[in-house]
Symmetry: C2
Subunit: 281 residues, 2 copies
């Protein structure tokens, strides 16, 4: 469904017991987790209810609905999505699928790094987008099980550097909802589990500006022919900006995911002009 | 450089003798062949001059220039590009790189099918975009050298069905310059060599409308996360429309190339609305 979130959601749902599957699952998400849970539920024959904000990207709302999930809309300014989800969970005896802070979600997300290492063979470093930390935790565990020397890097939006600050402080920090074009990385604090794994396994977390995310999206469009949403462009942005020290000349893998974005918004972010820059960059 | 044309151009240039390389190469093209020759020349240290129309897509002009080629612009309505190119060839003793009707160009283009068959293993059919016939001729020869039972299909724009009509007639037909969004498939007649190969090896040629090309581009954007220019979307369009008889349930490979398009034009063709349709299509 155009983002790594499917991997965690599918792994979570696949491990549910038959009586849990019958009662369905619930998730809250404005985007890729919603689609991931909806598609995994459809494939496994489980009913899914997703609590989504009214301002979620239309392309993500549409896809979630088309995968067959029931959507419960709420207004960000008026309601608490977790409360709405928990109420449905209690009423129906359904299972809540957490967005990232869960061992099954982390393990599922880690399969992307396994496939990357299968395809690319030995890597010196892996760079991933960083929101709540599910992907970086799974990536770190998967990669280090195969080779402890692989350096793991996370890339956050500058406006939402809760993970970088938490690692610096040595404890989980909570920030305000970050204002960034990376709608998939608007988390306000690391997960408990994902933070513990990151402290042990992650080499560094770097940040990129919205302008740098946009430049990376344009590079992906013009030179890689890949549609990447702002959140997914974070690792590419960090690499194009030389933001990660000490990896020049090394074999570096980047997990560039997802690619779910409204056509009109994509067009606005690409801009009208022909992307410039060295075609050999 | 975002299109299969590089393969033929590189193969052609790589087979030039040292004295030919020193005198440089010349090509005429409004798009992907221009970029392919420019990049191949740069990689092989050969100087390249490309004759391009003033209305060539800006992204293709920019890339050709950035690859280091000298560009000679002409107005479509006022000048003949072949005459301009041949004049430069004579004056400099340079070598003209033909866009498709040449054994070296055909052989280079055929490497895409070789890689497709390496990656996808046994296929029942391969579907390719069809302009002058370089790609379909190379695809057919490469595929049939490995397995004569693979059905080869070409897809043309409805407005430019010179190849379909030529095969029907049993001889090469020349049409007017077709009005189509597929700027890479605006050829007016099959090549002599490519037509001979196609007559022997191609199962069928089908056509798609500009609207169907646009729908396929939107499908590639929304579901495959791939940036595809109108010409490259032709095989996908034919498959999504069920235009090719007898391949349901078969293992079908499609060569989807290229992806060189101005951001503003891409945005216009995608449209503002969220692509609809079955996400499982």
């Amino acid at each position: 469904m155009g983002a790594f979130k499917f991997r965690g959601a599918y792994n979570f749902l696949a491990t549910l017991a038959p009586h849990e599957r019958r009662r369905g699952v619930v998730a809250f998400s404005s985007g890729n987790h919603a689609q991931g849970v909806a598609l995994a539920a459809r494939l496994l024959g489980i009913s899914a209810t997703i609590v989504m904000p009214t301002d979620a990207p239309a392309v993500k709302l549409t896809a979630t609905r088309e995968y067959g999930a029931e959507i419960v809309l709420y207004r960000r300014e008026e309601a608490n999505r977790e409360a709405i989800a928990r109420e449905i969970v209690q009423r129906r005896g359904a299972t809540l699928v957490p967005p990232f802070d869960d061992a099954r979600i982390v393990a599922g997300a880690g399969t992307a790094a396994l496939e990357l290492l299968e395809d690319a063979a030995a890597l010196d470093a892996i760079v991933v987008p960083l929101g709540g930390g599910g992907l970086i935790a799974g990536t770190a565990i998967a990669a280090h099980a195969l080779d402890e020397s692989i350096a793991i890097y996370g890339v956050e939006p500058q406006a939402g550097d809760d993970f970088a600050r938490s690692l610096q402080r040595g404890e989980r920090v909570t920030t305000a909802v970050p204002q960034t074009i990376a709608d998939g990385l608007q988390t306000t604090s690391p997960g408990e589990l994902t933070f513990a794994i990151a402290r042990e396994h992650v080499r560094a977390v770097v940040t990129v500006s919205d302008g740098e995310l946009r430049d990376a999206m344009r590079f992906a469009f013009a030179r890689m022919k890949l549609v990447v949403e702002p959140s997914g462009a974070a690792p590419l942005a960090a690499l194009l900006q030389g933001r990660i020290a000490g990896i020049a000349g090394k074999r570096v893998g980047a997990i560039v995911s997802g690619g779910n974005i409204d056509p009109a918004r994509y067009a606005r972010l690409l801009g009208d002009d022909v992307p410039a820059g060295d075609v050999f960059a």
